[in-house]
Symmetry: C2
Subunit: 454 residues, 2 copies
């Protein structure tokens, strides 16, 4: 009926995704904590009609700050300031289920959803790292425990979001009735990890539920995504890997009574764009020449779980023990990449510097669009997570040169369909479970798929 | 040397502080979750050169939502959206130390301080209520425990804020050095309530420490304020009470090596403003006529800790047991008010409806200004916490009619002194403890009072 359309998210990362971006003359690293930098990025993305912007996050100073521009802003606070200067673009923040409370998280996302008029999304992470645990007086949690907690966390948060039905607020001044308290429900949750009474002290937000996003690619991660996520960010290096991941994840949805269209898969791509292929390759080399091996070695050691030194630089990647905790799927991707292409550690560092394991494509706008089209049309992607190597110029180049090409090909929108994130992602607005069960009880069709007016 | 100047904070509360505000034709209760409503309020306050806006908060749906417009937005998310549309006004959010983690709180306020260019303030509360405890799977904490936790919380948060020294970021692109890691310090905190490694993953913010604000008036609360707070919001009904509180709190500062000027005391005042005294009284009566006794009874029962019914309405307030947990200072204030003026419960409800125990003054702009001047010049206030009965019109009236009068009297600024909250409150910017101790170690004067350039 309707043409299948690509969805594009701009992954905003300081002054760029390339680890040496801050050293390149195209960037201004002093803007790392300047809200106007991020407001400019959001406006560029909105000018390009992108679906959303996304901020990653961790709860510790990770990576070597001696050699990289890190130490920026907390995502939710930042996105609220971006909401104030944009009208259509979705705003997706990363928040951990391991070091937060469901009541706070439910309320803060509901607030961002109100503030943005229905544009909030939550990238759910479970915080694998040791450093994060030590900022909250905890031991590093086991992988399975993290996902068990995350699952219960989501049950509580969605129950809290549903607590105020859409028609709970009556606002009858004459009678003095503000709300119909029969339409406001406590959560009354008594579980393994949480006891939460509710209801929330923030009314139901425009999207009902802010969009749920996820990025883990472990077995537990994929199962969690199949159950809860509506969009998934993933790192896939080759079309074959992309297809395998796509088919695998989509096939899991039926177990949870969901159809394949209810979850969008967006692989990461770092486009290094030039007017000619040579220009793109030159920019790629300029960035590679600015890499600091000590920085990359520390990052890679952390990712693969063994200590690498400068002596390893010109040798192949040593054997890596298979069974270690956390970030397993990213580790496998890196080992596969090194083996497949026979890379030395130094060459591997060059490949990872662009996107930490995400796919890097250097070329003309047409070549980038070809790659996007190929994955989109061959069962590997519903869209892409765009990770410009340098910011803001890399996002501007994408919006000004790649987006128009995708539009000409009929793959991408020429105007926003909606003012909500769900509306642009083509996803339904969930009805409150209490409204739905009352409707079902009354023998009526449950209002589960009522789209919000755009 | 310089003239002592009044400080004014606008306490933003939905569509007004009067509990019947939402029923009055001057307000639009549907704007409770509309960010533009709050952006308009912040701009009005900034037009009036007020020092700051402030948002109260609780972590449960408290009060009877059947009869009042509650269920609004989370303060930090909201203030970030206000930062985006203002330039000078301070932004003070309430956050609890009982149901939060110091790492999150330190980081979020540092982010808001960056986003606002140095305008963030934290109103520290310890969450006495039963309903709040039940949203976090906890028992209601004892009064003393709450303050013990709050004290350690503040130690951790300020240590985290100090972790990045002002000159930690080097940004040397050529050498590839982003930060001087010798100027970034872990917190290494191992205490009774918290173990926090640090450092923060957000660099030092413009104010160094966002402004610390407090509002508890119990013994523990006053002692906590004397140690940490730089501004105190308080409820005082009479000049004599105001003077007593002011002298008491200021006298406690010396114990912590602080001088009286390092803490500003701002009593609450709800100004019901009319062009004539009759007009002001008419508005006061209109609001009083819209009060729903059942709502006020539930609120009052909660505040005084005994169950009051409609049968009590036309009798004096019954005897109240002295020893109960939480909100003790507010309880005493209410009992004193009822006894002093011989009020029936119904009359007491009328008095409390305007400001929940804060002082309500109905009159002309000149009469309001007289009251402000009298308290300011007679040792009861360094400024005021302005609580308009209806919003936005009550704030507009204050800004357009009372502020000019205060300016003519030479009591209030005619332009902002600074772009930071500390700058406008006339308070110093704290140096990082690590910078200060190094300077002291090198035999130099510690840089504790370096004001930030406005």
């Amino acid at each position: 009926m309707t043409t299948r359309r690509l969805h594009l998210n701009a992954f905003l990362m300081g002054v760029g995704h390339h680890e040496a971006a801050w050293r390149h003359p195209r960037t201004e690293p002093a803007r790392l904590t300047d809200v106007r930098h991020y407001q400019e990025l959001a406006r560029i993305a909105e000018r390009g009609l992108l679906d959303s912007v996304f901020l990653a996050d961790g709860l510790a100073l990770q990576g070597d700050v001696r050699h990289n521009a890190i130490g920026g802003l907390e995502p939710l606070t930042l996105l609220s300031a971006l909401a104030a200067v944009t009208d259509h673009i979705g705003l997706i923040a990363t928040v951990s289920t391991t070091y937060n409370e469901p009541f706070h998280v439910a309320r803060t996302f509901a607030s961002l959803d109100h503030i943005s008029g229905g544009r909030a999304g939550w990238n759910i992470v479970t915080s694998a790292g040791e450093a994060e645990a030590r900022n909250f007086g905890r031991e590093r949690p086991a992988h399975a425990d993290r996902y068990a907690r995350a699952t219960e966390f989501l049950e509580v948060v969605t129950k809290l979001w549903d607590g105020w039905e859409d028609d709970a607020i009556v606002g009858d001044r004459r009678l003095g009735q503000y709300a119909d308290t029969g339409r406001i429900h406590p959560a009354d949750h008594h579980g393994t990890h949480f006891r939460v009474a509710g209801p929330l002290n923030t009314s139901r937000s425009p999207q009902g539920h802010p969009l749920l996003v996820q990025a883990g690619s472990s077995e537990d991660g994929k199962e969690f995504a199949a159950r809860f996520a509506e969009a998934v960010f993933t790192a896939q290096q080759t079309l074959a890997e992309g297809q395998e991941f796509y088919a695998d994840l989509k096939s899991r949805l039926a177990r949870y009574g969901r159809s394949p269209g209810e979850l969008l898969i967006l692989p990461g791509i770092s486009p290094i764009i030039g007017g000619t292929e040579e220009e793109a390759q030159r920019l790629a080399r300029e960035l590679e020449d600015l890499i600091i091996p000590a920085y990359g070695l520390a990052q890679l050691s952390h990712l693969v779980g063994i200590e690498l030194t400068e002596d390893d630089l010109d040798r192949p990647l040593p054997a890596i023990p298979v069974e270690t905790e956390g970030a397993q799927s990213r580790r496998k991707l890196i080992i596969d990449l090194a083996r497949r292409e026979g890379l030395t550690v130094r060459r591997l560092l060059g490949r990872l510097a662009g996107g930490r394991g995400h796919r890097v494509v250097a070329g003309t706008p047409e070549q980038i669009a070809d790659q996007i089209q190929s994955w989109f049309e061959n069962g590997a992607a519903d869209g892409f997570n765009i990770m410009p190597p340098t910011l803001p110029d890399g996002l501007t180049a994408f919006v000004e040169h790649v987006v128009p090409d995708l539009q000409v090909r009929g793959l991408f929108r020429t105007e926003y369909e909606s003012r909500t994130l769900r509306g642009n992602y083509g996803l339904p607005r969930p009805a409150s479970r209490y409204t739905a069960s009352r409707a079902a009880g009354a023998g009526q069709k449950a209002r589960v798929d009522v789209a919000v007016a755009s």
